[in-house]
Amino acid sequence: MASSRGTAMAIGAPIRRRRAHGFSAWCEQNLKWLLVAPAIILILALTIYPLFFSIWVAFVNYDFSIPGHDFVGLQNFERVIADPVARSSVGVTILFTVANVSIEFLAGLGLALAMTRTFRGRGTIMAVLIVPLFISPVIVGQFWALLLQQPFGPTNYILSRLLGHDVQIGWLTEAPWNFIAIILADVWQWTPFVFVILLAGLTAIPPNLYEAAELDGVSAWQAFWSITVPQLMPMILLAVTFRLLDAVKIFDVIFMITGGGPGTRTYTSSFYLYQIGFQQFHLSQATAGSWIFLALIAVVIMALVRRLLKAERTQ
């Protein structure tokens, strides 16, 4: 087919070109814009328009319990800032983000360093390690809840046997433990993300750097700090940036494991806004809150993405 098309084109080309006028010529000239148009229109319609619309919503009364859309000024923002749950949810979000991303980074780095070496069965282990990336966070939350729940989950039973005395921890309901449960689920799911990116970075480091270091009698520990870390830095930055930007959105696991409880203790920002907006239907308050949330993370995003781009350019 390819060859017949080639000859047909060569023969038919001049005629086709002369015939091309009017609509098809216009299309050909503006092809580059026609190709990007569907994507841009979709993004404008379903992301940018809602964002602008939400500015209006944030300044009026848009509450399913109160009729009318009166202009209320900054009242919606004031309500969010005055809400102690909103403030604690920011703290909880920061806590989870920092804890999750640092543990995922350390575990991911450890795995990547261990897996750079070739050994028997490496391919199989590699395939197993990336499995969590293809599972819905809802399911991850669900089966961690299954593993940790009281009284039928196996975790307390195993801990009781290991420690030699009866352990009755309410992993899903008691305060420090439910934080650990959520962190476990998030780390379980996203450590492979960091691992995969860092492994790609490690395998790209030219081996002759290590050979030269070995000849110079440099210890493995020194080689790690003077070769591996600086060479890996762009990848570390990339992996951590991606993870941070996703970690602040944490919602699904909270939804499945604690439902924000006990009370509002494990409300993260996303979960808080969901509750306010879609369970209590204070849409304006939730919208104002989402703008505050966006402003808070925009600062972090700007700084990180700029660092990232700079690192990529100097690479």
């Binding site: 038919g12 299309c27 050909e28 092809l31 580059k32 190709l35 990007v36 569907p38 994507a39 841009i40 993004i43 379903l46 992301t47 809602p50 964002l51 939400s54 919503v57 575990a107 795995l111 261990a114 750079t116 070496r117 050994f119 395939a127 390690l129 499995v131 990336l133 293809f134 599972i135 809802v138 399911i139 991850v140 669900q142 089966f143 299954l146 593993l147 729940q149 039928f152 196996p154 039973y157 379980w188 993300f193 995969v196 050979e211 070995e214 990339l238 602040v248 959105k249 919602f251 939804f255 499945m256 920002s269 806004l273 969901y274 907006g277 879609f278 919208t287 966006l294 995003i301 993405v305």
Partner: protein, 283 residues
């Protein structure tokens, strides 16, 4: 690289400290335990998963929870909805994304700014746009419809498909398309008859990542769908708050849901780094 050098390199790599084996081993236990427990719970009779001490392997495995999850809890409907919504999104996102990526890579449309504008959409928290989107959908009667979720998912996966394909087209030489242009092809024909077939492996990989993103997505689905267009992950809501009586069904449904996405994931394992970093890292 000379032969002795390569051998030395291999020798260096083979000397793995015992500590790294232990670490990987422990990590595998951490990784596989929840999966095992979920799989085993899905075939346990109800008495077995409400037992202390826990039953590690059921003596009378049953498939009752699978039929329960699929028929009593509308898992089958969720599965079907997920399949339709994810497939339609995949086609739409891969098509529109490839078109945009081609334009960005070959004609430098909009310079770097347009490309980064699309990328920035990836980092916009869904919670910031879901409220106004919900109101827009209410106005357009798109809440709880296939079309509504398909459009939302297409937008939400565009950064992925555009950037994966952008990276792919940039490393693909333009010489074949140029030859086609010299032969008298229009640019439009050069795109569909030369560039797209050449980029097919990249498009398939991007499409699979789009499919997996939709298949596992929860946040948009839980808000934009309820009785009709609910996807598989939202079915799990129905198992919350029953204190143990539905563990078998929820585990069975988990198995049903994660098998297809894991199988697909394994098929694109080679492209994983590009998929995770939106083409920023070649892998």
């Amino acid at each position: 690289m000379s032969e002795p050098l390569r051998q030395r390199r291999r020798a260096r790599r083979r000397r793995a400290p015992i500590g790294s084996y232990i670490f990987v081993g422990l990590y595998l236990i951490f990784l596989l335990t929840p999966l095992y427990w979920m799989a085993i719970t899905s075939i346990k009779p109800t008495d077995d998963y409400m037992a202390i001490p826990p039953v590690w392997f059921p003596s009378h495995p049953t498939l009752a929870h699978f039929t329960g999850a699929l028929f009593t809890y509308r898992g089958l409907q969720g599965l079907w909805n997920s399949l339709i919504i994810s497939s339609a999104t995949t086609v739409l996102s891969a098509l529109i994304g490839t078109m945009m990526a081609y334009s960005l890579a070959r004609f430098r449309t909009g310079g770097e700014h347009l490309a980064f504008w699309v990328l920035s959409q990836r980092f916009l928290p869904p919670v910031a746009i879901i409220l106004p989107l919900f109101l827009l959908y209410r106005f357009l009667h798109l809440n709880d419809t296939y079309i509504g979720l398909i459009l939302a998912y297409t937008v939400f996966t565009l950064p992925l498909s555009v950037w994966m394909m952008y990276a792919y087209f940039r490393q693909m030489p333009a010489s074949m398309e140029e030859a086609a242009l010299v032969d008298g092809c229009s640019r439009w024909q050069a795109l569909w008859q030369v560039a797209v077939p050449l980029a097919a492996p990249g498009i398939v990989a991007a499409a699979v990542f789009v499919f997996i993103s939709c298949w596992t997505e929860f946040f948009f689905a839980v808000i934009l769908s309820s009785r009709n267009a609910f996807t598989l992950p939202t079915v799990f809501r129905g198992f919350l708050g029953f204190q143990g009586s539905q563990y078998g069904e929820s585990s069975a449904l988990s198995v049903v849901s994660l098998v297809p996405s894991i199988v697909l994931g394994m098929l694109v394992q080679r492209h994983l780094v590009r998929g995770l970093t939106l083409g920023a890292v070649r892998g």
